[in-house]
């Protein structure tokens, strides 16, 4: 048995859904944030796997894309955490359930 693209894809989707589950079910904003990171990483895994097993690897599309994603993710984390801190200052909480000012009433 060899490791094929399939394995990686399934692994990536599993990781993605774990991340999603975290994002959808936890009430702490910070946890939601790193759930998002998990999802991003799952996507990165897909990129690399496709590059490794796909056609035209010499074009380096996969690694490049991953690199860019990582950069964007870094930016996103920085901003997201900053926002979390700002929110915390305002509401004295990072609980998503208490952040309901979008509501109509």
């Amino acid at each position: 048995m060899t490791v094929t693209l399939h394995h990686y894809l399934i692994l990536a989707s599993v990781l993605f859904c774990i991340g999603l589950l975290g994002a959808l079910s936890r009430r702490n904003a910070i946890v939601v944030l790193f759930s998002v990171e998990i999802m991003l990483n799952a996507a990165n895994l897909n990129f690399i796997a496709f590059w490794r097993f796909g056609n035209n690897p010499e074009l380096l599309h996969g690694p490049l894309f991953t690199l860019f994603t990582i950069a964007v993710a870094a930016a996103e984390v920085a901003l997201g955490l900053a926002l979390v801190i700002a929110v915390y200052r305002h509401f004295r909480s990072v609980d998503l359930e208490s952040l309901n000012t979008l509501k109509e009433e």
Binding site: C17, I30, S35, L60, A74, A75
Partner: protein
Amino acid sequence: MNEVTAFWILAAIAVIGALFAIRKRNLVHGVFSLLVFFAGLAGLFLLLLAEFIAVVQILVYAGAVGILILFAIMLTDRVTGKDAFRVTSRGSFWGTIIAASVFLVLLLPTIQEIPQVDNPSNSEEIVKQSTVKALGKKLIHPYVITLEILALLLTAALIGAVTAAQGGHPAKKKISIE
């Protein structure tokens, strides 16, 4: 240790790390398991012959992002979530259902159509040749604009983060938690 074994081990590490990260009540523990997940993923990248990406993964995620999140947790209250009687939000059941269905939606095509995959050994030579040097060249020749834009984005994110975190206006009304 052959490739297959390595894959399974690393996959297990990643999945377990991820699961712990989202299930741990203590946030600090969660962050540590997240780091484990990142490391596992880096291992998988290595296995896929993307050494540079693996290194970057370690550096950026395990190094920078992890530390950053730790700091954020330190800066906010109830770090450990000891007093939070409930970690999941309201109706987390529906969240779980939806996550599961997303998983199904993702999994179904993967299982149904077996993608036509080249024998990895065919392209292995080429993949091995694509060193950091080639990557650097690529970054300079066709993707230089993207690179520059990314640099800008990071700078903007930096400034934005500082501004946002700094606050400026103290909260006018303080909302206590229920």
